[in-house]
Amino acid sequence: MYNLNWFSQIGLQHYLLLSSALFICGMAGVLLRKNAIVILMSIELMLNAVNISFVAFSHYQSKLEGQIMVFFVMTIAAAEAAVGLAIMVSIFKRFREVNIRFFERLKG
């Protein structure tokens, strides 16, 4: 079904596959990693993966809305990272701990 042509003709599908793969990577990080900061980074990874598919759709359908969306996603991602890290820093300064399981104890 797939021949060499599949490797030399890059289309939307390739980008979407790559995007999904990166997304799964990021999700694995979120689900499995112990370090809360790495989890934040994995979220960034997922957002990046999504951005790829946005831009790919925008390119292959000749609509710029996808790029606008990426613009917004980047802003949100940066905002999330900024606040997330600020929280992380204040927790770390207090408890010297970034393990996500530790955060279970921060209730009430």
């Binding site: 980047m74 802003t75 940066a78 905002a79 990272a81 900024a82 890290l85 600020a86 820093v89 300064k93």
Partner: protein
């Protein structure tokens, strides 16, 4: 050829060139480092390999107290950086908007954004978040 060719032919971003150059520079640097490590003399001395301190043996634990200001600066940088990035497409299309008669509109839309920006900056200054003692 009676005319000089124009200076600009928009060619996008020659990604291959960038990749090539980056690879080349990395290889170049590594090669030089490798060369230096092979050519340099090597005489072992335990003191020499210790961390640079003021004559006192380095302590194992590095629980250096680092001011929270550094993070804060970085976070505020992110925020303002994005706001500045948002101004680039605005600046790029400013003249087009003016020419199409929407100058006041584009000025006002950025005016509000800038107001928020300036308000944020003013707030940061006022709340002494930017004070380095």
């Amino acid at each position: 050829m009676p005319q000089l060719i124009p200076a600009t032919i928009n060619s996008g971003l020659p990604l291959a060139g960038v990749l090539f150059l980056a690879t080349f520079v990395l290889l170049f640097g590594s090669f030089l480092l490798f060369l230096a490590s092979k050519l340099g003399t090597r005489k072992y001395d335990p003191v020499k390999y210790q961390s640079y301190e003021c004559g006192i043996p380095a302590q194992e634990k590095k629980d250096t107290k680092i001011s929270v200001k550094f993070y804060l600066t970085a976070i505020l940088f992110i925020v303002f950086d994005i706001e500045i990035i948002f101004m680039y497409p605005w600046a790029r299309t400013f003249k087009e908007f003016i020419d199409s008669g929407n100058g006041l509109y584009i000025l006002a839309s950025m005016g509000f954004f800038l107001f928020v920006f300036i308000f944020g900056l003013f707030w940061e200054v006022k709340s002494k978040a930017l004070e380095w003692d």
